[in-house]
């Protein structure tokens, strides 16, 4: 196993897949210069010349071109510089990419990955910090993938590139440089399979993206209270591995669903509602949600710290549920 950063794991996955399959190409803004904004596309221009396109600022055009290329059998890996800019290409994502297979009665398909750097990173305020996983969960035809570790990043990215259908690939900007071990050799993580990041008996934390790490920290703190919590990482939000989540909740009888995004009508709401529906008779306490308050991301560091949920918020939520 090698230790590498999250963005390095993505880069390695991209290079491996591009070497394997000629139909893969990269398209996005500034993806060549400086190795791309997040260095994920570094080296692609040199190693795979002609298979990476630096575009005008035209998100609708970029995703639209991706849709067409995918319909014609290519596998575009589209980078949007910030998740927030997907708002400029929602028709292409929602009405074209997602629905093409269905509307054509299965004749066409759109094997395209859209990379979505998201969440708060450097302090860039309301238009550069959004997440919005739930938007895409709500759209049939899209897969929504959210890795939390370098190993999952690589394994899920490779699966996403091979998927015959469009994948919205969420990359939390703040964890690009976080490190972890990545299995050597071909490493694939199937889309639709949750991962139990820590086993425990007393409560189940379902944690999305960077909340996994914070939940694992919380779990250690909670040991002091004598609580042994399980941490489940769904890894993909659509399809959602309801089996793994529900088995865990049935075992522990308690569920705390944690995401960085605003909780109201967010990913955590779907998961909480689903648990309420399926595990009602096993629940010893209400299903709790941990997420941001329903506000745009402010700029000032002094305000941001009250918005983004912390490891402590997870601890408090678990404690509340245990009492």
């Amino acid at each position: 196993m090698k230790t590498m950063a999250f963005n390095e794991a993505l880069r390695e996955g991209l290079h491996e897949e591009m070497a394997r399959d000629d139909s893969i190409f990269v398209i996005g803004e500034d993806v060549i210069t400086h190795g791309g904004p997040y260095k994920v596309t570094e080296g692609v221009a040199e190693r795979f010349p002609g298979r990476i396109f630096e575009t005008p600022i035209a998100e609708a055009g970029i995703v639209g071109v991706g849709v067409g290329a995918a319909l014609a059998g290519m596998r575009p890996v589209v980078e949007l510089m910030y998740l927030d800019f997907v708002t400029c290409a929602m028709d292409e994502v929602v009405n074209q990419a997602a629905k093409m297979r269905y509307m054509s009665g299965g004749q066409g398909s759109v094997p395209m990955v859209i990379r979505l750097p998201c969440g708060v990173g450097r302090l860039l305020a309301a238009q550069h910090s959004q997440i919005m996983e739930s938007w895409f969960m709500h759209v049939p035809g899209l897969q929504v993938v959210v890795p939390s570790t370098p190993a999952d990043a690589k394994g899920l990215f490779k699966s996403a590139i091979r998927s015959p259908d469009p994948v919205m690939f969420f990359e939390y900007k703040r964890i690009y440089t976080s490190k972890g071990e990545v299995p050597d050799g071909e490493h694939l993580v199937p889309i639709g399979l949750a991962d139990i990041k820590r086993e425990g008996e007393d409560a189940t934390i379902i944690a999305v993206g960077p909340m996994v790490e914070k939940s694992l920290e919380a779990a250690i703190t909670l040991e002091d209270d004598g609580y042994d919590v399980e941490v489940v990482d769904p890894r993909s939000l659509s399809p959602l591995d309801t089996d793994t989540i529900c088995s865990s909740v049935r075992k522990t009888g308690r569920a705390i669903v944690c995401g960085e995004d605003s909780a109201f009508a967010g990913a955590v709401s779907e998961i909480a509602a689903m648990i309420g529906e399926n595990c009602f008779h096993d629940l010893k306490a209400p299903v709790a949600r941990v997420g941001s308050p329903h506000v745009p991301m402010p700029f000032s560091a002094e305000l941001v710290k009250h918005v983004v949920p912390s490891s402590e918020s997870v601890v408090s939520a678990v404690q509340a549920v245990m009492n």
Binding site: F25, F53, P56, V67, G68, E92, G141, S159
Partner: protein
């Protein structure tokens, strides 16, 4: 690109197939068999046929909400298209798409589209795919004059030009954006004039005259196929019916419509052109129309006799059945 008698006959036949297909679809709507809505292409047949007569089977075509003509001209089968309009399981899209999504991927006709201007980016993408694969396939995008106002037009055509892609952007300028005359909502008369913003040729032709369309499209397709990049081709045309079913057409006079039907019908004009050259006898003409008519009647029978999609079809084709990950 001189238009031969043979090509003329093929185009003429296709024009009749389109005209009769739509008139039949309209009739079936009144009978309650075709549901949803129809955007009738009648009057604009010279554009689809004139352009598609220059295309190979493996060239890509993407359409609009008004795409019966584009599909038929690209070679789609009228019976499966009619079944689609009925919502039958045998439709081109298994009844899941309907009129605004008719498509035949086996002919690289990648579909009508319900979102105005939404095909321009994807067509640029199919052209990019051909370039990446090193084939000499050409991609053609049809869109209306209204669509030229959309940001997708601006964003995608610039990329087509930037990467010198093999694509022809065909604007069907029928003078109306739904219920509004173009002059009320547009600030340039000719869509072709906007080509300068993208450093590509812009050509405007009489869209009722299939000879003009055929020749201009031929140039553009040749240019694209030979690596010369995109062309913006505008065809000035007119729709004989309302924007979609039920349109009361308060926004134009019946005199205007009658004038176009009488003197600017592309089918009549082509017939005259052929007759002038002795390329079309009275007899041939009757045979062509009779055969087209028979084809369309058969299409309706096919649709009528076809089964409805079964309930489980609701949940198929959302994503691929098995996620072939490895």
């Amino acid at each position: 690109m001189d238009l031969s008698a043979e090509v003329c006959l093929k185009i003429y036949t296709d024009m009749w197939r389109i005209r009769l297909f739509e008139e039949e679809a309209d009739r079936q709507t009144n009978l309650g068999n075709v549901v949803g809505t129809l955007h009738m292409y009648c009057g604009e047949e010279a554009v689809a046929t004139g352009v598609c007569a220059n295309l190979r089977d493996d060239d890509y075509v993407l359409g609009t909400h008004r795409s019966h003509g584009h599909c038929l001209a690209k070679g789609a089968k009228s019976d499966r298209m009619m079944a689609e309009l009925w919502g039958k399981a045998t439709g081109t899209c298994k009844g899941k798409g309907g009129s605004m999504h008719v498509a035949d991927f086996s002919l690289n006709m990648l579909g009508a589209n319900g979102i105005v201007g939404a095909g321009i980016g994807p067509t640029t993408g199919t052209a990019l795919a051909s370039k990446l694969r090193g084939t000499d396939q050409v991609s053609v995008c049809f869109f209306g004059d209204g669509a030229a106002a959309r940001g997708t037009f601006h964003e995608a055509i610039a990329m087509g030009s930037l990467w010198t892609l093999p694509v022809v952007y065909v604007c069907e300028n029928n003078g109306y954006q739904q219920w509004v005359p173009r002059e009320n909502v547009a600030v340039v008369d000719s869509v072709a004039d906007m080509a300068a913003s993208y450093s590509i040729p812009g050509v405007s032709v009489d869209g009722q005259d299939v000879v003009e369309v055929y020749e201009a499209a031929g140039e553009a397709v040749k240019r694209a196929r030979e690596g010369g990049g995109p062309t913006l081709l505008e065809a000035r045309t007119y729709r004989f019916y309302g924007h979609s079913l039920g349109d009361e057409q308060q926004y134009r006079s019946s005199e205007e419509v009658d004038e176009w039907k009488e003197n600017r019908d592309p089918i009549k004009l082509l017939a005259q052109f052929m007759r002038d050259r002795d390329w079309l006898s009275e007899k041939q003409d009757q045979t062509i129309q009779a055969e087209a008519n028979a084809e369309i009647n058969a299409a309706t029978r096919f649709a009528e006799e076809s089964p409805w999609p079964s309930a489980d079809e609701v949940a198929t084709d959302v994503v691929a059945p098995i996620q072939e990950v490895a």
